[in-house]
Amino acid sequence: MSNVEPLPCNTIVYRAIRPKWVDPETNEVLPAAFVKRPSPDDDDGLSVDVLSAQSCATALKKCKVASLHVGRVRDAGLDITVDDYPHANITNVPRAVDDETAAARLSVALARQARLIPPERYAAESP
């Protein structure tokens, strides 16, 4: 299913992240969670799931899940577009090889906005 309608700003999206991309003392998401991989990976943007934390968690074998608010992502000059529901991409994020300052600034901005979802929350969502 494809969805070309812009997501409302009050939408919450979910990003699967490496467990090491969370500070274990504070549970804060680290900027490394928002760095693009080398091309061709992430050419369309940083992957997010628009359905649920549980849907996001099932995409990868071992990951944690962070949530983001679409309106706040847009405030940072980025956007989120759905390409293959429930998959979507955070767009306009540069790679460090193209603009290291912008890439670092945006990774910090997204990390500050992201909230870690406790694993028991999405485990509990399973049928």
């Binding site: 900027p31 490394a32 991989r37 080398p38 670092a104 500050r112």
Partner: protein
């Protein structure tokens, strides 16, 4: 005839510990010819670095411990390379150690930070606070130079990674 009195230079405990551990972790420069893929044949963490991690030097030892763990990680996960490459690990350890020495000489210590790898085995150390952020970013290979990103009091920029620049920016992190 004048009397010459010899005195020993004074070091505080932190300076002494750091000087000791820097000497302990010294490694001969490697040959200029690359002999293998450092992602699949990792060097074990040196005894000196293991000592630094367990020395209990506030925040510094913890960062070195995190870097040692990243060097000993599994090679890959779903996101890409998980294990820090030798280049990224060595460069990050050296910069943090030298920055900690400079900080100690100025009567400071480096603040609490968190290390992680990117999807290529590059290393980054983030010092995130509500009003400031400093990030040391070391790419996986020598192809790209390491750099420091700072976002302090609404001003942000990147600088080439040097021990003095890192020590200077970390002053802004409470």
């Amino acid at each position: 005839m004048a009397t010459v009195t010899k005195t020993s230079p004074a070091f505080d405990e932190v300076e002494h510990k750091l000087a000791y551990f820097r000497a302990a972790q010294y490694r001969r420069p490697s040959d200029s010819v690359e002999t293998g893929d450092d992602r699949i044949t990792p060097e074990p963490v040196s005894e000196g670095r293991a000592k630094m991690a367990s020395a209990g030097i506030r925040y510094f030892s913890d960062v070195i411990k995190q870097l040692n763990e990243l060097r000993a990680e599994a090679e890959e996960d779903d996101f890409g390379v998980l294990q820090a490459t030798e280049h990224a690990y060595e460069t990050a350890c050296q910069l943090v150690t030298d920055a900690a020495i400079l900080a100690a000489c100025g009567g400071r210590q480096i603040p609490r930070g968190r290390a992680s790898t990117d999807a290529e085995g590059g290393v980054r150390i983030d010092w995130m606070r509500p009003d400031a952020a400093v990030c040391l970013i070391v790419p996986a290979s020598k192809v790209r130079d390491p750099y420091i990103y700072h976002d302090v009091a609404g001003n942000f920029a990147t600088d080439p990674a040097t021990d003095s620049a890192l020590s200077r920016w970390l002053r802004e992190i409470p």
